[in-house]
């Protein structure tokens, strides 16, 4: 384990820093050596990437705060336009320099203004002899702003001629950022994912004050045993640990077991955690509901999860419209005649096949092609076809009233159908059916319609 050392900072501060960033020592020491001493110029821009919850934001924040380096920290999702972003940087800059709040609002529309105002802000304070760090979290958002923003940030040092470094944090690799026109290449640094050992160490780090660290570590061990297979997200795990810890402690609180009685505790918590994996982890029930359940000690069966309400109530014709749309989306056009024409005769699978595919060798291939209809996903279909199918599957005559047409639009707003192509194309609109097979089968069952019989894939 490399101990952090740097001539510019006192050893005590470094030690504290090290205790705050477990499992990220190598990255921190790397950063420290890049940063150099306070007054030294460093890389104009640094790009840090890694999977989510691999500690990018946390490490950066702790590092800058502990060493008391002057910095500005901005989340690019929160400031979603370039103007908001630039203004926010300037405001934070003003705040960190002088204690008295400037009431004046600055207007900063372009990057040119920003550079000017930035120079003023830096000049007015004692920042000149230190490197100023501007950290842009979720930097991938920058790509969606004006084209000049990202390249300009990358060479901000050069543009402003000040001692400033821009740090970009992102979940995606630098190659996806690089604009086609080319730009200044930042120094890139990768934060690898935490291993299970790391997770164990970090999670055990923050143990509740009432219990010993070992006790909590044992709990974390059990927790990871259950959840590591499905979830490696540190934050999520932390959340789950906090949610279920009170249940783990129960035997101890009741005096039935002592803290060392790991086996007993394991027996108590394991089924509970499994249940949690099926419900609260998937957000079937919310964490506050889960907590209440724990208090009441009741069965989660009483509480209906989100998916218990998954059925949708639809008017009668809407159901048939949806069924017709599903058939239109998943059946090839050429089969319509055979499904919906009354006198298609006894054309069964084989003769039908013979008609279209001459050789028997092709037959196998068609079987393969056929099964793929559901794998390929829904295909778009024109409005006419939808209505034609509707008329043939509904028993009684349906007048093409405005009501029917407006139901199609309703289905689109409910996201059960989706409009293909442009919204303002008036003639010949095309739709896709976006519901799943299970859903449509449930719908069809309510109107006594055997949809499987009409699906080409299942013949």
């Amino acid at each position: 384990m490399p101990n952090l050392e740097h001539p510019a900072y006192p050893a005590a501060t470094l030690l504290r820093l090290e205790s705050l960033v477990p499992c990220r020592e190598s990255q921190v020491s790397m950063l420290l050596s890049i940063f150099g001493e306070r007054q030294q110029f460093t890389f104009p821009s640094i790009f840090i990437y890694g999977h989510k919850s691999s500690g990018k934001t946390y490490v950066m924040q702790t590092l800058l705060n502990t060493l008391q380096l002057p910095h500005v920290f901005v989340n690019c999702v929160e400031y979603f336009t370039s103007r908001l972003l630039l203004e926010e940087i300037l405001i934070q800059l003003q705040n960190c320099s002088s204690e008295t709040k400037h009431a004046s609002r600055m207007l900063c529309d372009t990057f040119n203004d920003f550079v000017r105002l930035f120079k003023q802000a830096v000049a007015s304070q004692d920042l000149q002899d230190q490197t100023l760090y501007i950290v842009l979290d979720r930097a991938e958002q920058l790509r969606e702003m004006e084209a000049n923003i990202l390249p300009a940030f990358l060479r901000l040092q050069e543009l402003t001629d000040r001692n400033v470094t821009v740090v970009l944090l992102s979940e995606i690799v630098w190659e996806l950022f690089r604009p086609s026109t080319g730009c200044f290449e930042p120094f890139t640094l990768y934060f690898p994912d935490y291993s299970i050992g790391h997770l164990q160490k970090i999670l055990s780090h923050n143990h509740p004050p009432e219990y010993s660290a070992d006790f909590y570590a044992a709990y974390i061990n059990i927790l990871l045993g259950v959840f590591y297979m499905v979830c490696r997200d540190l934050k999520e795990l932390q959340h789950l640990a906090a949610l279920n810890f009170s249940k783990y402690c129960e035997p101890v609180v009741r005096g039935e077991a002592n803290e060392r009685d790991t086996r007993k505790l394991w027996k108590n918590i394991e089924p509970h955690l499994k249940k949690a994996m099926q419900t609260v982890y998937l957000r079937e029930i919310s964490s506050s509901q889960w907590e209440r359940l724990q208090c009441a000690d009741g069965e989660p069966g009483q509480l209906k999860g989100l998916s218990a309400h998954a059925h949708v109530e639809l008017p009668y014709y809407s159901k048939f419209l949806l069924i017709a749309a599903y058939l239109a989306s998943y059946n090839p056009v050429r089969t319509d005649k055979r499904f919906f024409l009354k006198h298609h005769g006894k054309i069964k699978k084989t003769s039908f096949m013979k008609k279209h595919e001459k050789v028997l060798v092709d037959y196998r291939q068609t079987i393969d092609n056929r099964t793929s209809n559901h794998l390929l996903g829904p295909k778009p279909f024109p409005l006419d076809r939808l209505l034609a199918i509707l008329y043939s599957i509904v028993d009684n005559r349906v007048a093409p009233t405005a009501n029917i047409f407006s139901q199609i639009t309703s289905l689109v707003t409910l996201q059960l159908l989706s409009l293909v192509g442009h919204n303002d194309q008036l003639d010949g609109p095309r739709y896709k059916c976006t519901v799943s097979l299970d859903f449509i089968r449930a719908i069809a069952r309510t109107v006594n319609f055997d949809i499987i019989k009409y699906l080409y894939d299942f013949l």
Binding site: T57, E78, P315, Y316, S406, S410
Partner: protein
Amino acid sequence: MSTCSVSKGCFVFKPSPKKRRVSPKTAEYFKEANNDSEDSGLRFATCQSLWKQIKSETEQVQEELNKQLFDNLVSFLRRSHSEFQEKTTEWTCRMKSREIPTAALVLGVNVTDHDLTFKSLSEVLQNNITPYVALLQAKDCPGIKNLMQKLMGQLMNCCIDVDSSDEEDYVQVSQHRIRCSMTSLISWYENITKKTDSETPSKKRISRHLQSPPVVVIFKDMESFTTKVLQDFIGISSLLPHSVSSLLCIELFQSLSCKEHLSTIIDKLLLTTQFAFKLSEKVLQVLINIFLYHDFSVQNFIKGFQLCIVEHFHSQPLSVLCCQLVEAKKRVNSLSHSQCENIRRLPSFRRYVESQVSEKQIALLTADNFLKEVIQKLLEDLHVYHENYVPVLRCLHVFTSSLPKYPLGKQIRELHCACLENRVWETEEYESSLQLARMLNKSDLVTMLQKCVEIFVSSSGKEFDKVVEKLKEFLAQFQKLEAGACQERGESVSSQKELQKKTDLYHLQKTLLELKESRRSKKLTKFEMLRFEVVDFIDNLVRNYLVPADHKTLHEIMYFNTASALREHLNAAPRIALHTALNNPYCYLKNQALKSDGGSISNKAPDICIVYKLHLECGRLINLVDWLEAFSTVVMAVEGTNEDAAASDQVDDIIHARFIQAVSELELLGFIKPSKQKTDHVARLTWGGC
């Protein structure tokens, strides 16, 4: 601004030049349309007051239905927020990621009803929880920027509402000058909560809110928001870059199903004597069909009901009598002679007259005063009929709704329709449900009878004292039966024992046959006798009280039965209308020359009709040259004069121009469009006859 256009498109709205001309009073329309302007003013007033009553009634129903849901939501909001405030220092709370309490409200597909629900929801929230409620709609928020703008605008405005009396500086903040970011929202929030804290909570409104009230954001149509916008918004408001759905602490609430809502509305509006206005079977069926088949919208149902009211009072001069009994009797006295004639013309009244003795017939047809007396009596009869009808219907529903397979329908509205349609006791379904009722077991029967007793006791009908007595008597007899049951069981056990003694197969068969025989001819047990009696009793009630309304004299006054008018108004069929207009122009133009149209294409019809008819005979792609030739042939054939020109194979320029115009008109109507597949062809956009 909205248009009356059915199609999507761009519409120009000119600002209205001046104040609009004062539109003629609505009441005038009542007069204009009917040359028979009898009592139009009075009718209009009655109609208005009736609608007002119904409206308030329906609103009340809606409120009650939503109450439970809103209560849950309010308590959820209170709870989630208080948790958030209390435990910030605890260890678990530090460790957990900060979730945003979220309530998912499932409202169903009847979008038109939602507006009302949301309006009352935000009202409830503002009164009980927090003044800071923002309602966001997907169509206003295509991007995160617009969303934030809307949100801030709404929040800051609502704060003005609360302390408009003493805070004026906020009014000046225009929306454009606000920086639309979370930081400014936070600072605004801190500012505002500080202010309310320092204020003495003398204002009732504020004291009811929690300390530091939460900000509630309602997304009206979640499913229509683009995912990106929502993700960003949630990410922003929690300020944690984290997978999005895990930031929400979702609890689900479901509103009442709209079918139940409809049942309640029907219960409150139709199955009551409170309102004199009634719907006939056909009309009700139209409204219910629209609801079930098309939109599931209670709001539309009520609108349809309103239309019925207006139509009824507008078209039926005698509807002046369609009001509460006391008032109606007064109005009868002041009826004019022509109104009396109107009454004499009513089919139901004529039937009544025919059934009277001849002297009375003459008196009824000649003497207005005598007629008025009779009408008063008849109106009273009708009123009593209604009073009795409802409880008996409910009572019958108690029975039919628990039968297997529901031969008479599960819902009371189906039963109601069946009873209005014709004599319900003559139908097969009724027969089969009586059969089934004769097989009910005792406990079911007893609970049903108890329910019936409750219904009759709570009803206002005067004739039901005896019925209640009789029902109670039945109940008492069932009680007695229970006591006597033990003895009977003893008997049956002995016969069973006898059966067990015989082990010989032949004898066994014989005894079994005998047993079967005896069971068939056996006289019924006491319970069975009683059951028959009960069913007969109910049957009697039905025959007495559930006579269809159109068998009643003067039912035309109360019942609206022009279902065709309603269908015309509510079931708009643009495609069919277009087809009729183009296929059979006489229908709209009323020109005699167009009338004798037996499938052939007349040359006198407008050009577009000829072109349309010709195009019906084509396939998907239409050759323009062929079309033009056919068109010119038709047109020439009619004109007939210059046959030489037709022979010359050269199409007249004028006919060519007419053809082009007609085709472009068709294109405008959306029947054809230019095709890219073949240059001189157009593609049909419709198929079939219509």
